[in-house]
């Protein structure tokens, strides 16, 4: 297991958001977390990468406990996130944004290699490397957010709603690239509202409701599961 989340509870002030989440991710997998708005998907990701402190529960990465580490230390452990809403730096260039992703790595040749790899994955970013990130289209900004997360050479990549606000054709393109990234050995945890496309990509999936995990199965079974079809895949037809 590359990632183990045990009995994770998170509160925002006095509001309890997560009521004991158990998750495990094997190395090399793509795992998706499905659920409606407010189910706690993003909160779970933010807790894993240290942006939110859990009120109780434990998180292990390669057997090492990480839930007490600050977010910047977790990046050094090779977990990075492309956050929801992308959060790129609009007033900096594409290249400067990617540079920031490599803030933790000290070896220049390694950084250069990652940059080349990212430009291979997203040729569009190379074309626009000198352009201000704020002037990119939504899809390009998403590519940049993923690229920035990859600059730190993560072993575990957390993606929060990569299809948010994208045209279907662009979303498919992004998902194809996520598979390519995974095939190089990066483990991926994917939070998505677009359940169909996420389940096609993922190996396994979890379904969350109101801060709890209500279902866990392989992606191929989930996509056929009547309850999942009813709730997330638009009823009758698959």
């Amino acid at each position: 297991m590359i990632l183990e989340v045990q009995n994770l509870h998170v509160k925002y002030g006095s509001v309890r958001v997560l009521h004991g989440i158990d998750l495990s991710v094997k190395a090399g997998e793509i795992v998706t977390i499905l659920g409606a708005n407010g189910a706690g998907k993003s909160t779970t990701l933010n807790a894993i990468c240290g942006l939110i402190r859990p009120s109780s529960g434990e998180i292990f990465f390669n057997g090492e406990s990480i839930h007490r580490l600050p977010a910047f230390k977790i990046v050094e452990k090779k977990i990075t996130q492309a956050p929801e809403g992308r959060r790129i730096f609009g007033t900096l260039t594409v290249e400067e944004n990617l540079d920031l992703g490599a803030f933790t790595s000290k070896k220049q040749d390694r950084v250069k290699k990652s940059l080349e790899w990212i430009f291979e994955l997203f040729p569009r970013l190379e074309e626009r490397r000198k352009q201000l990130a704020g002037t990119l289209s939504g899809g390009e900004q998403q590519m940049l957010a993923i690229g920035r997360a990859l600059m730190a050479n993560p072993k575990l990549l957390l993606l929060d709603e990569p299809s948010l606000g994208l045209a279907p054709v662009l979303a498919r393109q992004i998902f194809k690239t996520i598979r390519e990234i995974n095939e190089t050995g990066v483990t991926v945890v994917l939070v998505e509202q677009n359940a169909r496309i996420a389940l096609k990509l993922a190996h396994r999936g979890y379904v969350m409701e109101l801060g709890k995990i209500v279902m866990e199965d392989t992606a191929t079974s989930l996509i056929k599961n009547p309850e999942v079809v009813q709730a997330y895949l638009g009823g009758a037809g698959v």
Binding site: C49, P70, P83, F89, T91, T93, L100, K130
Partner: protein, 322 residues
């Protein structure tokens, strides 16, 4: 464009350097005040400009440097300039202790706490804390700095002091320019524009913010040393909340995060009112109007940080990469 900028900077520097040769003592002293506030503005710029932290208590660090110099110089006779690093260190340590618990506060909340801090420091000084600060009367008889046995008296001969301050100003500009373009400067730029994204990319945001606070305070403490050596008499009045506001205005009006902007801000806010003494009673009124107008028409400051220029066509792009 860049060349034009360089020419202007060079011309302004030369004018600044030769100005005392043509000015009387009074006007040279005005320049000295501009230099002091330019230094204070630059040190605040690390915190407020690069770090994006609304810190309105910078006079506290200035005061600690000045009082440290005054107390040690008058009690033990240690020469003022020798105390320059110590004044900075004491202010920096104070900043470390004070800023640590409040560094995570944002925007207006930080502003309120720092206002509280500067008031506490001033009241402590007025109340003659530990019997060291001389209460409301302050401390008299601080020695002037000496360099190679040559005394630089800021009152009798402001021109000598002018060149001491100018040398320190040049040193400061160089250091802060290098800082701005270092890994540290980049980290501050990232965290001030989106601290969550910066933290999520592996930047120790609270560590860098704290470092910015300590560096800014360290520098303000050193300026306090030079200030004490200049006027040889200090009292709590010189370190009121209003002084903090003036420093804040210099940075915001001139252009937060821009070294030339802060220098211009110091000149406008400290220098101009001195040259319009005839309008004494309307000074603050005009000032207030100018501030309001600025916030409406140019909220980023008069000389905001230079926007990068980006190659857009392929020809010039090749030039960049090769």
């Amino acid at each position: 464009m860049i060349d034009l900028r360089m020419i202007i900077y060079a011309a302004v520097s030369v004018c600044w350097l030769v100005a005392p040769l043509f000015l009387g003592n009074y006007h040279t002293d005005v320049l000295n005040n501009i230099a002091i506030y330019a230094l204070l503005g630059l040190s605040l710029n690390i915190i407020l400009g690069y770090g994006g932290m609304f810190h309105m208590g910078h006079a506290a660090f200035f005061a600690i440097g000045a009082y440290a110099t005054a107390i040690i110089n008058t009690s033990y006779g240690i020469p003022v300039l020798w105390l320059l690093p110590l004044s900075g260190i004491l202010a920096g340590v104070f900043a470390l202790v004070v800023a640590r618990p409040i560094i995570h506060l944002r925007g207006d909340y930080l502003l309120i706490v720092t206002i509280g801090m500067v008031e506490i420091v001033r009241i402590a000084l007025v109340n003659n804390v530990f019997g060291l600060t001389g209460g409301a009367n302050g401390i008299f008889g601080i020695a002037s700095p000496t360099i190679f046995g040559h005394q630089i008296n800021g009152i009798v001969n402001p021109k000598h002091y002018f060149y001491l301050l100018t040398a320190f100003l040049a040193f400061t500009i160089t250091v802060f320019y290098l800082l701005e373009h270092s890994r540290f400067g980049r980290a501050l730029k990232f965290l001030s524009s989106d601290s969550v994204a910066a933290e999520g990319s592996g930047i120790d945001t609270s560590g860098y913010k704290l470092a910015a606070f300590v560096i800014g305070a360290f520098w303000a403490g050193m300026v306090g040393n030079l200030y004490a050596g200049k006027i040889t008499f200090i009292s709590p009045e010189s370190f009121s909340f209003w002084e903090s506001v003036v420093m804040f205005m210099i940075v915001i009006l001139g252009g937060a995060g821009s070294i030339p902007g802060v220098l211009l801000g110091a000149f406008l806010i400290i220098g101009l009112p001195e040259y319009f003494h005839g309008l004494q009673q309307y000074r603050l009124l005009i000032f207030g109007f100018a501030l309001v107008a600025m916030m409406i028409f140019r909220p980023q400051g008069i000389l905001p940080p230079k926007q990068h220029t980006y190659a857009t066509d392929n020809a010039s792009e090749k030039k960049v990469s090769s």
